[in-house]
Every structure is written in C-alpha cells, then in structure tokens.
C-alpha cells in the first residue's frame, strides 16, 4: 500500500463494434470517428499538463481500445508521452477484446510499451459467451491467451463474469480453472448486475431475464475466492484477484486509495485532493468542446471531510487494506464493529479492520452499518 503518490492516467476509448447487452460503459459503434477522437483527446490532455505533469500508471480502457489500429495507437501513446512525463516503471495496461488479438498486434503493443493486458474473456463456455452478446467465441479467447503468453507478456489479466441465468457452480468452477491454466497474473470476477438502461435491465424489468438469487450469487463468489486462493491468488478487492501483491492493478488501486488520477475522453472521471470531476457522457460534446480548446467537464464535486471518510469506508471494506480503527466513531459504530467481528464479517489486524471473504459479500452495506 506504500505505492507512489504519482497520479494515474485513464484514457477512455469510446468505441465498440457492437454493444454488449449488460454493459453501460459509454461507447458508440461509429468507429470512423476514432481519428477525430484521438486528436481532441490529445488536445484535452494538453489542457491538464500543468496540473498533472507526470504519472506512474496509464490505463487504456473503454469501450474497446483494441479496436484502435496500429497507427492510431502509436499516435496516441507518442502524443501522451510528448505531453506528460511517465515514470520509469509505469504500468501501462491495455484492455483487449479476444477477437482483436493477433500476433502482430501484440508485438506492436509491446513495442509501444504496453506491459499489461486485460483480456475481456467473460466465460470459457460458448453458450455463456453467446448469452452475454460477445462478438468473440470461447475458443478465440483461449487462442488469444496463448498468443499473449507466447508474446511474453508477464502481466496479463482475465476478466470473467458470473451469476448468469442457469449457470451452475460446476460450470463456474470450470471457467475459473480454465482461466488458471493460462497462467494469468490477475483475474477479475464480476457478478453480472443490471446496469442503468441496458438491454439486460430492460429484459429483467419485462420479466424475460431472471438473475440468480443473492444466496446463489454468494456461493459463486465464495467459489471464486476458494478456487483462486487455492491457486495462490490474493483476493485484494471484491472483484479482483492477483497472483501476488506485486501483481495488483496499480492503476485500479489508486481509485480505492484516494490517489489522484486524470481521466481523458468522454465519461472519464478524475480525482485530486478532495475534488472529483467527470467528462460529459457524449462523444459529440467531447469533440466539440475539446476541439475548441475547452475542458469537457460534465460535472464535479468537492468532497467534505465526512464524504471523504464515507468513501474511505466504502473502499476499505471492499479491499484487503480494510479500515483504520480511528475511522469508526461513536458508541454505535463500535457496537456495530463488535457485531461484525462476532459474525466474522471482519477481522482485526492490529489497528485495521479487514473484511473477511464473507465480509466481501456485504461490503457495500458495511459503511452504513458502522457509521452512526
């Protein structure tokens, strides 16, 4: 946890060939506008040069960043390096879709300095991948993983989704084991949830999609912890596992430790000190404003001490760093912690209250429980 306090840089690539029915990250399917997006994003970057001169992590997410062709990606990275200074050991993560992976592309990524890949596998079962509306097949994902290993990427992560209708504990464990076979340094397991105005949430509203009950979801989640910790993985955040402390996602950890970060591109969020701001969720607006040399900020907030504390509780109970005892105030808070200790939702490690595996299942509820 004693990482550098250098900020992280996030680039939101707002393009997808097709939209997945569960996802509500901002993206458009008109990929022809990528060229324009690139130039305005670099203009946006230059507006923050004074405030954020250097970084030690760069995360290219989306959207589908792997849609960017070689020259565009090269322009992007070179452009960013012209504007900002990147620390020597910068973690440079690229989100990649399995069907975009080719040997050539991977070689290019390496050449451009990408040292970490996050692959959107979601499942190793064909029926599940199809259900999720992905444009790749399970077979393609396996092939992509072989290529990534062949290319010598030491740091790569696999993203999985669980809690699908009809999914069994058996099939979920199979997917987990398959993931392990490919030797990733990192695995993220996301419970399928209904987000905003997505096709899945509309289907659920209309009754044609029914997600498993919370008791089943809990078993999936515990199965993941079990299977992955047996393989030596550390469960360091509700949805994230790493093959050792040196394999955490440095960039993502910044989000959970109130470290500064800058987000560029539509819908990207930034944070510094006690201020958070975010860009409008609209490519047109983003192009228009940054094209005119303005920031495309869609909203901002300045957090009070109480809000900062509440967020520390929120992050703390979701991660293995837990919450410092001194954050818990009042008799009611103490009483609640005693209750959580008794029911083994948290453990005490010196002065920190650390969530247990069972505690992770209720992480979102704990901050309210312990604040008076």
């Amino acid at each position: 946890m004693n990482r550098s306090d250098l900020p992280g840089l996030y680039i939101h690539v707002p393009f997808c060939k097709t939209k997945c029915p569960y996802c509500d990250f901002y993206s458009v399917t008109d990929t022809k506008r990528a060229v324009q997006w690139l130039s305005t994003t670099l203009m946006e970057a230059s507006l923050y040069r004074e405030e954020f001169p250097s970084f030690d992590s760069l995360y290219i997410g989306g959207g589908t960043p792997s849609l960017l062709g070689g020259p565009l990606l090269e322009d992007l990275l070179c452009g960013l390096r012209d504007i900002f200074r990147f620390d020597g050991g910068t973690e440079l993560t690229m989100e990649v879709n399995p069907d975009d992976v080719t040997r050539e592309k991977l070689a290019l990524y390496r050449a451009l300095g990408v040292n970490r890949i996050s692959l959107g596998v979601q499942s190793f079962r064909e029926d599940e991948v199809r259900f999720l509306g992905r444009r790749h097949s399970a077979k393609q994902a396996e092939e992509a993983l072989r290529l990534i290993a062949d290319e010598g990427f030491a740091e790569f992560g696999i993203d999985l989704i669980y809690g699908l209708p009809g999914q069994t504990l058996r099939s979920w464990r199979q997917t987990l084991r398959k993931a392990l076979e490919h030797g990733p340094s990192h695995i993220s397991c996301y419970q399928l949830t209904l987000e905003g105005d997505t096709p899945f949430s509309r289907m659920s509203g209309g009754g044609s999609l029914k997600l498993p009950a919370d008791a089943i979801q809990a078993r999936f989640s515990l199965a993941a912890s079990e299977t992955l910790s047996e393989a030596g993985f550390i469960h360091y955040e509700v949805s994230n596992f790493a093959r050792g402390l040196e394999h955490l996602s440095r960039h993502n950890v910044k989000y959970w430790q109130h470290k500064p970060y800058l987000g560029l591109g539509p819908s990207a969020h930034s944070f510094r000190g006690n201020r958070r701001w975010w860009n409008a969720r609209c490519l047109d607006e983003h192009l228009l404003k940054t094209g005119r040399g303005e920031k495309a900020t869609g909203g901002s907030e300045r957090l009070s001490a109480d809000q900062m504390r509440l967020e520390r509780l929120l992050f703390g109970f979701r991660t293995l760093w837990g919450v410092e005892m001194s954050e818990i105030s009042g008799k009611d808070g103490q009483k609640a912690i005693d209750g959580l200790l008794t029911s083994r939702l948290v453990e005490l490690h010196e002065t920190r209250i650390i969530p247990t595996e069972k505690g992770y299942l209720f992480a979102d509820g704990l901050p309210v429980m312990v604040s008076g």
Binding site: T193, A215, S239, G263, H269, L310, L314, Y360, F362
Partner: protein, 598 residues
C-alpha cells in the same frame, strides 16, 4: 337585536358545507373575487385536501335585504366529524337556526340524522337545503321524500341550491332572515356568554369565540370563566369578518370574540360560561362537559435525539388544540416519547399529519388503543389505555372495555354485508329500521376498539360509498382481554404490543407478523417474528437472511454514485430503530398498525 341572526350549516361529510359557506361569503362581498380562494373558512392544508373542517371558524356576514334593512348574519361553522360532536353541540347551542345541507345525489345519511337530532335538541329552526342540484345524478324528488320521511321535515320548504354554481344563494339569505328568529336576551342582565371555540394567536394569545346570551362585555371588564373560576381582564372584543374587527362591546344576542390575555387555548374550556367578575351570573349555561379523550396512542421521534424537538412541537400544537392530551411515555424499543389522548381516530390522524407537515417532525405512532378497565383481586380498579401498563394477568378478576351504539344508514342491498362486518367486529344487539323504502338504518352495540382502526374505511368500501356511520359511546362491558406481544428475534418490541379481545388475538398476531415480514428488510441473519400471549407463541413469520449485498464494480465512474447511495442509506438508517440486532424501519411500525390488506 332583531337584525341579528345566528346560524350554522350542518351536513354530512362531503355534502358541500364549506363550498356553501364560501358562496355566502362571496355573496356578501366581504371579499373580492381576486382574493377568493375556495373554502375560505378551511384555512389549514389538511382541511382543503380532505374537504373537511377541522377547526371551526365563524364569520359575520353583512346583509341588506330588498327593503334596505341591514342584518348581521353570524355563520358559525362547525366541524363535520363525529370525533368533534361536542364542539358541534356547543356551536349549535350558540345558534337559533341551522341550514341542514343534504347532497342531492347522496340523500340523507347517518350524520345528517345525527346532526338533525342535535339541532332539534337545541330547539333550532331547521331549514333543509338540497345542495349539488347541478349534478347529473341529482335526484331531488327522492331526496325530498327522504327529508319528509326520514327527517320529518317539510320538504316543500327545502331550498334547492348548487353551492358550486351559486344557484339558490339568494333564497338561502331570505330564509335565514325570514325563518330563523332573532336572538333573545337582556343586555342589562349579568353577563352569560358561551365559549364555543378558541384559537391561538401568537401575538394576542387565545382568541375566544363566544355567543353572548345576556349582558354586555367590553374592553377593561374583568371576566370570569365559570367552570374554572379564573379571571382575566378584557383587552379587546369584536366580531369576525374575514379578519377580526374590534367593537366597543358585545351585547346580548351577538356572536364575536374576546381577547383577554389568556395564554393558551387549554386555559379555556369549550362550553364554559363567561361572566363578569364584578357582577357574576347565578348559574352556568347548560350543557358544559369536560371532554375526555377516547383513543390513545404513543408518539415517538424517529431519531431519539429529536425528543426535545418533538416536545416543543407538541407544546406548540397544543396551543391551538385543547382536546389533545399528552404525557411522557417511554418504550424499550423506541425510547422517550409521549402518550397522547385523542377525541377519535380522525383527531389522531390530524395530530399526526400536522406534526409531520407543519412542525416538520418525523414520528412513529403506536397502535391506537381505547381505555380498558381492569378489576383486580385486591379490589382496586385500573384504567389502562397503554399496553405497557397491562396488569399481571394473574391478578385480574375481570376486565371491561368501552362500547358504542353505532348507527349505520345504508341502501337495503348492503344490509347483509354490513351486518357481517359488524358481527365480525363483535357487534351485538342489532336493530334494523326502514326509514324510507329501500333504505335501512342498522344499529349495533359494538366495542369502541373495533371501530377505531379502519371500520369507517371498510364500511365505505363494502357499501361502495353509500354507507354512513355515526356513533356515541354508551358504557363499559365485560370483555375477555389479553395482551398480544410481538417479538423480533426473541426480543419483545413493546411499542407493538396491543390489548385485544382473546378471540381476535390470533388473527391480529398473524396479520402483524405477515406485515412485518414485508416491511423489515432482509439482514445478514435470519429474523424470526412472533406473536405471543404471555409466553405462548400464537403466530410467527420468518425473514430469510441476505447472502450477498455488494456490487461488482467500483472504478472511477462508480464511486460518486456509490457514495451517494450510501449517504441516502445513512439518512434512511436514521429512520430505523434497532431492536436487539434487527433494524426495523419506521414503515414497519406504521404497517403493523393497519389491519386491512391494501
């Protein structure tokens, strides 16, 4: 004095009393059209919304007839609900006549009858007015027949009116002047003035509304409130226009107000007689009663640190409502609160709503209770209106509960359904009469406890709105009472305890357990809800445990939204009460009180 008329409008709820009052005011041009708001006399929000008058107001209408004679017509507004029947009776005692309003589409209803009887008791001239004749469903002939046969009044004298459209208003003024006699009284005799209402004014203290029968009162007089013997110096007298209009004096026959440095409304008693301290009347005016609350429930602040603020709100509220009584109460589940007594269930609802709306209090109200009477082995008698004070059952020799005589007026086709709900609610001694063909008056002796919950709503729904209901409290009768406790994970939630008839206990327990099951959110452990009498469990329900309550993602774009959700939940938690280790939301306490399934 011969140019004064004191009258009131009496009507069943919704028959248009307030609208008619508005029309009469408009006609006299006391207020111009621009200032005019519907239901001028009902100036509380709740009154406008519910279309009922809670706090009566009086207005002095100047009227000039076609011969140029000037009159002062005192319209004494009355609350239109059975909870306030004593206030109504004092207002009627201040009048010489009434307009009896009947809805042309609804006809005569139970309260119309009750109101008529009250008016006849005071020997008032009754002028029937058929209102809402503009409605397409108006059936004037049928209503006339009912006026004749059910009320025994001359239907030919009935005035046809549409208060909404303003027709028949002139006729009403004619009738008030022509048919209602002027007041009698002697200005030279010792002062007797009847208090029929009192309001609180933050600048002037209590504004006493009164009718002077004999004598004269003016600024500087020392008055005496006869039932209490307290004396006050008169600061101002006057009459009610839409605002107060000071006068030199009030004399026999007049209706007006007295301001005399009376601090709170509770220092006065409705129905009391005002006389002069220097020259007192020999006796009080008849009919004075000290009204006692009949329904009781406790009020607790949702956040226990709001106790002081609730106390202040109650004190302020009480300034204007002498009929609410309260004292400190405390509950293991809900902390410090107040036990309150109300005139009836509507009164309870009004207090609750006004505390929440006007005084911005977030409160939990416990189940309404009547006052039960317990005869104990040691010969003592215990009146209990709070389940907390239920005596040790081993020491109870016998118990009693208050009964009412309920009178229900319905179209004949609903007799079966109405008899059924009355009997389900332990009604006995039923009696049927047929005032007009097709209509039935059903009377029942029933425990008051059976009507204080939702009897009226239920009656309305099974009779599709045609049933009307009136009651008076008659006596105490022997009853087999038990205390029903509700336990959450084995802990008794004292605020949910109720006293019930043994035969009803099980059914009530099952309902409360089911409702709580729906209202208490899942927690990380299983929650058992039980209904028990003594140590015996008679009903139970279970809330299964939550197994997972966490969202998958928490990255840059998720944090603000997640924190806002937590902030909202934190606020919501303030509205929760913790019993043992279970968080119970306020809504659960409220829902547990409802007996009906909506």
């Amino acid at each position: 004095m011969k140019h004064i008329r004191n009258f009131s409008i009496i009507a069943h709820i919704d028959h248009g009393k307030s609208t008619l009052a508005d029309r009469l005011i408009q006609y006299t041009k006391l207020v111009d059209a621009r200032q005019f708001r519907d239901q001028i006399l009902d100036n509380m929000d709740i009154e406008r919304e519910r279309g009922i008058t809670i706090k009566s107001q009086t207005v002095d209408l100047p009227y000039v007839d076609e011969n140029g004679e000037e009159y002062e017509l005192n319209l004494i507004d009355t609350p239109g609900h059975v909870d306030f029947s004593y206030e109504v009776s004092r207002a009627l005692a201040s009048c010489e006549g009434v307009l009896l309003l009947v809805d042309a589409s609804q006809g005569v209803e139970a309260q119309t009858l009750g109101n008529l009887y009250a008016a006849l008791e005071h020997n008032l001239v009754v002028i029937p007015v058929i209102n809402k004749i503009d409605l397409p469903v108006a059936d004037i002939e049928r209503v006339k027949l009912e006026i004749d046969q059910e009320l025994g009044l001359d239907p030919e004298g009935a005035i046809l009116c549409s208060a909404k459209e303003g027709t028949g208003i002139e006729d009403i003024f004619h009738a008030v002047v022509g048919k209602i006699p002027p007041p009698e009284g002697d200005p030279e005799k010792p002062l007797t003035a009847l208090i029929f209402d009192a309001h609180y004014d933050p600048f002037r203290g209590t504004i006493v509304s009164c009718r002077v029968f004999d004598g004269t009162v003016k600024q500087g007089d020392t008055i005496r409130l006869m039932s209490q013997g307290t004396t006050y110096r008169v600061e101002e007298v006057g009459v009610f226009r839409l605002t107060r209009e000071p006068k030199k004096e009030l004399t026999a026959g007049m209706v007006g107000y007295i301001i005399a440095g009376i601090k709170t409304v509770s220092d006065t008693r409705i129905g009391d007689t005002i006389t002069l301290d220097t020259r007192p009347a020999s006796s009080q005016l008849p009919g004075f009663k000290d009204v006692k609350p009949v329904v009781f429930s406790s009020i607790y602040p949702i956040a226990s640190d709001d106790y002081q603020s609730l106390l202040e709100a109650l004190e302020k509220y009480k300034l204007n409502d002498a009929s609410l009584v309260y004292q400190k109460d405390s509950s293991a589940a809900l902390g410090q609160g107040f036990r309150c007594g109300y005139l009836g269930l509507l009164h309870l609802e009004i207090v609750q709503e006004r505390l929440e709306r006007e005084f911005d209090q977030s409160i939990i109200m416990t189940a309404p209770s009547v006052q039960y009477r317990f005869y104990l082995d040691d010969g003592s008698v215990l009146d209990v209106d709070n389940p907390l004070y239920y005596p040790d059952p081993g020491t109870i020799k016998s118990s009693e509960e208050p009964y009412i005589r309920a009178s229900i007026l319905i179209p004949e086709r609903y007799v079966g359904a109405v008899m059924k709900i009355c009997m389900e609610r332990r009604g006995v001694n039923s009696h049927l009469s047929y005032p007009t063909p097709g209509r039935v008056e059903v009377t029942f002796d029933m425990p008051l406890a059976e009507v204080i919950f939702d009897f009226y709503d239920k009656l309305k729904s099974i009779t599709q709105g045609y049933g009307s209901f009136d009651y008076e409290i008659t006596d105490y009768r022997e009853s087999n009472l038990v205390k029903l406790d509700i336990l959450v994970n084995g802990e008794k939630v004292d605020a949910l305890s109720i006293l019930v008839h043994r035969d009803n206990a099980r059914e009530r327990a099952v309902k409360v357990c089911d409702r709580l099951k729906d209202e208490i959110p899942k927690q990380q452990f299983k929650i058992a809800i039980q209904g028990a009498i003594g140590g015996k469990i008679i009903a139970r329900s279970t809330i299964s445990a939550y197994r997972k309550d966490v969202t998958a993602k928490c990255y840059g774009g998720d944090i603000t939204r997640k924190r806002k959700l937590l902030e909202k939940q934190k606020k919501g938690k303030k509205r929760m009460r913790i019993v043992g280790n279970v968080e119970i939301p306020q809504s659960a306490f409220l829902a547990a009180l409802k007996t009906d399934d909506e």
